[in-house]
Subunit: 541 residues, 2 copies
Amino acid sequence: MTEVQLYDTTLRDGMQGQGMSLSAAEKVRVVHALDALGIRFIEAGFPGSNPKDIELFELLASEALDQATIVAFGMTRRRDMAAEEDPGLFALADCFAPAVCLVGKTWALHLEKVTKVSREENLAMIADSVRHMRDSAGKRVIYDAEHFFDGWRDDDGYALECLRAAIDAGAENVTLCDTNGSSLPHEIADATSAVVAALGSEASVGIHTHNDAECGVANSIAAVRAGADLVQGTVNGFGERTGNANLISILPALQIKLGYECVDPESLLRLTDTAHLIDEICNLMPDPDQPYVGRNAFAHKGGLHAAAVSADARTFEHMKPEEVGNRRETLISELAGKGSVRTIAATSGIDLDDDGAAAAVERLKELEHRGYHYEAADASFELLLRREAGSYVPLFRLESFRVVTEKRADGRVETEATIKLWVGETRYIRTAEGDGPVHALDRALRDAITEQHPEIAKVELTNFKVRILDENHGTGAVTRVLLDSSDGDESWGSIGVSANVIEASWEALVDSLEFAFQPRKSDRPPPPGGRRDQAPAKAGR
Amino acid sequence: MTEVQLYDTTLRDGMQGQGMSLSAAEKVRVVHALDALGIRFIEAGFPGSNPKDIELFELLASEALDQATIVAFGMTRRRDMAAEEDPGLFALADCFAPAVCLVGKTWALHLEKVTKVSREENLAMIADSVRHMRDSAGKRVIYDAEHFFDGWRDDDGYALECLRAAIDAGAENVTLCDTNGSSLPHEIADATSAVVAALGSEASVGIHTHNDAECGVANSIAAVRAGADLVQGTVNGFGERTGNANLISILPALQIKLGYECVDPESLLRLTDTAHLIDEICNLMPDPDQPYVGRNAFAHKGGLHAAAVSADARTFEHMKPEEVGNRRETLISELAGKGSVRTIAATSGIDLDDDGAAAAVERLKELEHRGYHYEAADASFELLLRREAGSYVPLFRLESFRVVTEKRADGRVETEATIKLWVGETRYIRTAEGDGPVHALDRALRDAITEQHPEIAKVELTNFKVRILDENHGTGAVTRVLLDSSDGDESWGSIGVSANVIEASWEALVDSLEFAFQPRKSDRPPPPGGRRDQAPAKAGR
């Protein structure tokens, strides 16, 4: 099996994405996650650019990694300056990282319009910098040929000269960068083949692509098939503009579909968890539709699909979800039969007999007819099953509520909710203000409940969506509210449907809190529906 | 230039995506947006599956399209049943659509495990169905070869026989489907080349891919380069699991990068607006990092990049953003400079001078920073321009309102709104009940206004969408409300943004009614943004 080395630049190029920012400590967590996944090279940034990156390199110097090599990133020397005098190269030489990645120009247009450096001087800059890193600093050197494919289209001879300058000076790899993301797979394949043929076995060739044409992954695969043996990319495709090539999709394609050796097959099982963990560290919601690792990536509607998949998974699946640490899901929908309802109940630890399952299916149909839609509301669905199974534990009993929103003559808007309810034998009356009616109701409700159920305080509402179901009736139509909630460890969805948006919100709000409150086994596996992004639910929440 | 026909299946396959749901009226809006973009075939669904799709076909039958052909989608006949007796084929034959797409099997594994049909019977099912549609019903026929690439890998001879059965029976196109999304671009290219060579010039060959390997776009491009001349996909890649191939990325790659002729170059300028409009109709947030059309797709960091780009855009851009209706920079504003604001004002019949345009741009930036977003809210945007131009005519002056929603001890929910306002010199106090707070407010407001402005009664609210903008703050976050309204002849959108959903709804409600009330010329053309679905506005509404 041909080996392909994966090179992660999430911590450098990935951080160019809009709104991306990680502390040094968070970056160390990312490094360990990547190391455990089997990524060979982890680019940590430039060790002299800012205090955060300096701190990161200090932290990393004392971290023990299983197999990954930390790479420091910098530029070729400045023009008219000796390599040993260049402060950037000095910082690279001085840092602990055993490998460096030097980026330099290969495209005459850039020499002319951007850096104003002659072609000869550029070649000298590349050679001097690589040689200095290699011979004086003792580093392994990767040369990133910026704008390589644009340069290749303009003047393939000069682009190749730049690569040769790096190799002759001791670079162990030259990586062809599609910096502007302009290329399509056949162009990448053609240029990479030509480079590999021209350079022979002198150096390994790498590929670095961006997703501007939505071809970042395909471009990386095309380059590998054309002879590249190193792939630079980022986790989940983070990066500026439309992002970098997504290593999370490249890895399973290369290893499972094409038989290249990138990581230990055991490590590949961590792919889904790693992708979600790094999303979480970056404070991003995992994309449910993400290839390979998204919660919908192996989702099937009930009925025919589900039956065929259990007969032979190849009928409707492009690969085994378990190989990348993901799992198959059967979406909850009107197509669901008794069998799938019982399966779902079992994975939620609910003991539902045959009659209960039949009743649940009937109830589901009736509710879906009224506009309920459980695909994104696993919590409400679990509560529905619990009611049918007789294992539903009510959190409280509502007597009444009232919400008032007033826009006063001075233009101010104020909202206040009053709620009367019973928790066990105790009656509570609470009034709260809020930014809006749902906020005020949520506050008043929690205020009433937390005295007896302080753990409810951990539950946070993270998203709120409203839709009208029959658009022909305007504001008098039926309203569907979807709420997402989280307790910091896992997240779940709930739903409410009513002609009244306040009533629908209330229903979703109550389901969200009641779901968190239901007693369940501590070893309960994540339920299907894929809403649990992380660890199984904790007992006694 | 070689022509490639784009075939959109957003309304059928796209609706398989989790949580996707559109009304028949919303689907009609999508059809017009696709028609204006130049999409050749628009697949609307199966005309007999449910009341909503039946209604859609009834509506579409009387819509005038510029150039697109509506396609009805269905399956080949059932086994052991004559084509003319099959109820599915009957519905297809009976509907107005001039073209049908028939999906059928080509993979022996599916025949064996899923449909339990012999290879011979499957060929007969294909041939009979195509022939019946073509000869008896007079339809143009496209045959979708489901799981084609999996079938090709298992038994290329049989896969080809299935295609030939369709062509021999009169299909004008056979489309190769990578239904499970298992294939990579080189596999798609190889199989497509072989099919094109084997079929010769007998039929056109299409491609239908999914994004399971994050190669949906690259796979479509690979097929076209291998000889396919029809591409099936969805807007923004909507679809089940990881989505279908994204037509919004395929179109510019084929037309701008590779020189194929897909749409009128003028229509291509609508690409960004179309992608965002359809996101809005689906109540989805446009992806800022989306290739070609995302807000960040042509974003540059300041300094070196920006300077180089103004010297020569090729240095840091893979194509000209204007060619797809996008623009350089990370702009707060959706409509950027003074020039475009004046153009829009002119098409709405608003006389906006240079200072007014500058003030409107400033105001727009400020509002967009607060979460306003005018792509689907043309009415609110026109009112903004009118305010800056001094041609805004207020409909009324609000003093105050109060909305009360009460869930009583008997379980009933009641909502009541009281409103105090001035129309001209007259003060009105009105109270109304409603199904929900917006409904109650709308009723009370109309009740107060119609005495002096009876024409307002014609305006109907047709849709209402709510989204939270900063998802990290749950119910305390900023809420954006989008309202669609119609007077029976045309429809328009308005927007409100506030921490309070009632306040945001109120704002959108007022814009909706005030827009209808503004005096305008009878010959005003529909404004850009494609929100006017029907005739130009009438005078004196």
